[in-house]
């Protein structure tokens, strides 16, 4: 089924119900997943999904409805529901119209035919390669793993003439490993890319297996002290998502929830921190010429050598601020392809890029006298409102006189992310794609480490 007729029907129905402004966001996807259980292929899944979301403005009131699409009646009923909901909403003095048409967007290369053509044979082969490589670490198994590949088409039309389309492919892998025997160690590894070419399953499996071995050797951290701590991309992305992305969202600025609400043009981080939103990087999971409201995306410097340069706007918050939307109204997900039409619009960087430093990770480690490099945290979230974090360290590498000398666990890393960004020792150059982030490892000074012993 093509998306265009579904969308046109919804727009036509909405207009016939008495609204002047309507928008339809529709998505079609095919997803193939393989799950590994105990070194074996446990489950292969294939999912086809399509659906739409209708937003309307009726007498300054906004309504929204979404639905899976099986037949044309779904389009009609979705539009009718959106109009009905707008009728019982309340007038919003701010939001006057959906975005206007803009042409000429740069289109990044994020659709890989090799991914869209994958089948059960090829995806299970990738999983088998990872397992075969991981177990070479010795007495290591792979208790669980997932590879998900998807081809996604998303389109947006509105009554202001916007007609945009994004097509992307996605590979997302998430595996765990563990050593066998008493007191096992656990390793975790993930991979994110729109392209198959960069997915080195042998290398992925090797690091996955080694992670379990390193974790098994970990000893409990003793005492409490402030240390230099290197946070790798996989954990740093989540910390930045929950704090930096949160604080530069115009919605949070307007709602007084952002600690950076009054900080535009001021220093919010160390001079060695520069962050961008780059929607055109071909490595990015959400790279696109248009955001999910049909607004043209653009490259933007968010933090320039520690100074906050701009906030990000969707169409609603842009109208509230009397600004132009920045192309950051996002509905898609970097790791999922299902039910994307059901998500509301959130303000986010398309790709949050941390500008790499000049040194390799090994060189950064070599310069640290006494510190830790995080291997794995339980979860890496900090409070967006306050910046506070307390992170359980499940495995960290001990750095002594510039070399890794062992691993520790059973400890908390405590601090405040907004303070930590002002205490950055160094930024490495090991840039990695993690969900909607493209970022390297960063060494922070003065993180409090609290041992359980």
């Amino acid at each position: 089924m093509q998306l265009e007729p579904i969308m046109k029907k919804a727009i036509k129905t909405a207009l016939s119900e008495g609204v002047n402004d309507a928008e339809v966001f529709a998505v079609r996807s095919r997803t193939l997943s393989v799950y590994v259980d105990d070194n074996a292929i446990k489950n292969v899944e294939e999912k086809t999904d399509q659906g739409l979301c209708v937003r309307v403005i009726r007498a300054k009131k906004i309504g929204q409805a979404s639905s899976t699409y099986s037949n044309i009646r779904d389009s009609e009923s979705c539009a009718v529901k959106a109009v009905k909901l707008a009728g019982v909403s309340q007038p919003d003095p701010v939001f006057k119209n959906f975005p206007l048409s803009e042409k000429g967007a740069e289109v990044p290369n994020v659709y890989d035919k090799a991914v869209s053509a994958m089948d059960a044979d090829t995806i299970t082969e990738l999983a088998k390669n990872i397992v075969a490589s991981a177990v070479t670490a010795g007495k290591v198994k792979v208790p669980s793993g997932l590879i998900r590949v998807a081809a996604i088409q998303s389109m947006l039309v509105n009554t202001n003439g916007v007609e945009t389309e994004n097509r992307n492919t996605m590979i997302y892998a998430h595996f765990t490993s563990m050593t066998e025997g008493e007191m096992p160690g656990e390793g975790v590894r993930s991979f994110f890319s729109p392209h198959l070419a960069g997915f080195d399953t042998a290398e992925f499996g090797k690091h996955l297996g080694q992670g379990a071995v390193d974790s098994m050797k970990a000893i409990p951290f003793e005492g409490e002290k402030k240390m230099t701590v290197i946070i790798p991309p996989i954990e740093l992305q989540e910390l930045l998502q929950s704090t930096v992305s949160y604080s530069i969202s115009a919605e949070n600025v307007h709602r007084h929830r952002s600690v950076w609400a009054e900080m535009a043009g001021k220093e919010v981080a160390s001079p060695n921190i520069t962050m961008l939103d780059d929607p055109f990087d071909a490595k990015g999971m959400l790279s696109s010429g248009y955001d999910d409201e049909g607004v043209r995306t653009s490259r933007k410097v968010l933090i320039d050598r520690g100074v906050l340069k701009t906030f990000l706007y969707d169409s609603y918050n842009a109208q509230k601020a009397g600004m132009k939307p920045t192309g950051n109204g996002i509905r898609r997900s970097p790791i999922d392809s299902q039910n994307l039409y059901r998500n509301g619009v959130d303000i986010d960087p398309v790709n949050l890029v941390v500008k790499p430093g000049t040194k390799s990770l090994e060189q950064v480690i070599a310069g640290i006298d006494n510190g830790l490099m995080i291997g794995r945290l339980a979860s890496a979230d900090a409070s967006g409102i306050t910046g506070a974090f307390g992170l359980e360290i499940r495995c960290a590498y001990v750095i002594e006189k510039g070399a890794i000398t062992g691993t520790v666990n059973h400890a908390l890393a405590a601090g405040n992310m907004f303070d930590a960004l002002k205490n950055v020792r160094e930024v490495a150059n090991d840039t990695t794609v993690i969900r909607s982030g493209i970022l390297p490892s960063v060494a922070f000074e003065g993180i409090e480490i609290i041992g359980s012993k």
Binding site: A40, K42, N43, E45, K47, G344, S383, F389, G390, E448
Partner: protein, 458 residues
């Protein structure tokens, strides 16, 4: 729908699958968000689709579609068999059982679909107003969400089951600001309940209280670091039950020896004061279900009794593998997601102490209040719980309020130090992911529990 689902399951069996099922779901959701007096979101969402499942030699194949035409459903059935044939996992056959037939609607007094949307919006406006108690409350957020999930399951057992699950949820989250401090507080009401849950709530008090608590948090202090006596509130007690002991008691983790609780049945794993259950039959609780997503009726599973480990939660597959009865814990987020062993309502059972008695014995410690999040660790049994706030305990008295902090440590070591368990069990509803996705509605909870736990916060 019954005819085509039955045909699809027959086709799966004809192609050599030892077990198969076809699950149709229609999920209707209404979602209203008010922010600072304005309706920010008013949304109705409908998901409808079918998933087909085939099992061959211990491996599974799934195929799901939102195209509800007969041809599409039969094609998905065939694809599920092809996918299962790509598996390499081995396993015992799922034991056959007597077919179940049932047709039931949700046991709610006021079905949300019968309540005009205008009434729901009006209620949210009240909740919004109730939070505006003070100029220090700079942002107020009110969320109403209802969901009706209609299931139709046909399986190769001969099951034909139709059931409905209805859930409602009300969340309030005010943000307070003064000087250089910004803090938030949240509260929620939820359950497998209809609109009566909302009508019975004192909305004005609910909103006002949350705002008052947010303002109080502006004076909160940094929590002490290190190993301390901690009295966990029902929410944090529930996180320990759910995240560590619960996830590690899901039998799929046990079958593959990924759980630190893999060989502990009959062993003392906790203080004799600790009893823990998973119970999908608790009336009105957020995680309650009449059947799991494999058609097994939900049940009460005792996991720990008086500190001694009893047994695991099971799907059809893990029960067959371990030679026990399934417990009704084979659950999926929806038709687009896999069935795993998942919890329902997981909690520590009541003891005999009052909170006052627990406080009396503490010279220096921490009383937790509200959780933000937690994370499972089935391999090593590590506990991580983020508390929204807490209080210092000094010489048996609650003193300063503490801002957000994290609790950590080995769950088994923590539970061995538990020396007092409260009289009243409270359940806290939410959604649970396995790993980082596949979210199902659950609740967790327990009474106040006094233990030794490491904590720290920024």
């Amino acid at each position: 729908m019954e005819d085509i689902l039955t045909k699809a399951v027959r086709a799966i069996q004809d192609q050599g699958a030892e077990f198969g099922d076809a699950h149709h779901q229609a999920i209707d959701r209404t979602y209203i968000v008010l922010v600072d007096g304005g309706v920010r979101v008013i949304d109705n969402g409908r998901l409808e689709g079918v998933t087909l499942r085939s099992r061959i030699n211990g491996s599974w194949g799934y195929a799901s579609t939102v195209d509800l035409g007969n041809e599409s459903i039969l094609d998905a059935a065939m694809r599920s068999v092809i996918n299962a044939k790509h598996g390499t996992a081995k396993g015992k056959r799922i034991p056959d059982r007597k077919a179940n037939h049932s047709k039931m609607t949700a046991q709610v007094r006021i079905h949300p679909s019968k309540v005009p949307i205008e009434e729901k919006v009006a209620l949210m406006k009240d909740l919004d107003r109730a939070q505006k108690i003070d100029e220090r409350v700079v942002n107020v957020n009110s969320v109403y969400r209802e969901e009706a999930k209609n299931n139709f399951l046909i399986s190769s057992f001969g099951d034909s089951l139709q059931w409905e699950e209805v859930r409602a949820r009300l969340i309030v989250q005010p943000v307070a600001h003064e000087g250089d401090r910004t803090e938030f507080y949240f509260d929620l009401i939820d359950g497998t309940k209809g609109f009566e849950m909302v009508k019975e709530a004192d909305i004005m008090a609910f909103g006002k209280n949350a705002a008052e608590e947010a303002v109080k948090m502006l004076k909160s202090q940094k929590a002490p670091s290190g190993l301390h006596t901690v009295i966990s509130d029902p929410m944090i007690s529930g996180l320990l039950a759910h995240e560590v002991m619960g996830h590690a008691s899901e039998a799929d983790e046990v079958v593959k020896k990924r759980s630190f609780l893999s060989n502990v049945v009959g062993k003392q794993v906790a203080s004799p004061l600790i009893t823990m259950v998973d119970d999908g039959t608790v009336a009105g609780a957020h995680g309650s279900i009449p059947f799991d997503d494999e058609g097994t009726p939900s049940s009460r599973t005792t996991i720990i009794k008086d500190g001694v480990y009893q047994g695991y939660m099971h799907s059809l597959e893990t029960a067959g593998e371990m030679g026990v009865k399934p417990t009704g814990n084979g659950r999926a987020q929806d038709y687009g997601h896999r069935v795993w062993v998942r919890m329902t309502n997981t909690f520590f059972d009541k003891g005999d102490a009052t909170l006052e008695e627990m406080l009396e014995g503490v010279k220096f410690g921490v009383l937790t209040d509200h959780m933000i999040s937690g994370m499972e660790d089935p391999v090593a049994g590590g506990f991580e719980a983020k508390a929204l706030r807490g209080y210092l305990i000094e010489n048996g008295k609650v003193t300063d309020m503490l801002r957000s902090f994290t609790l950590t440590g080995s769950a088994l070591e923590i539970l061995k130090t538990t020396d007092a368990v409260g009289k009243d069990v409270l359940l806290d509803g939410g959604t649970c992911g396995k790993g980082i996705e596949d979210f199902v509605p659950v609740s967790s909870g327990g009474p106040y529990c006094r233990s030794k736990i490491t904590l720290g916060g920024g």
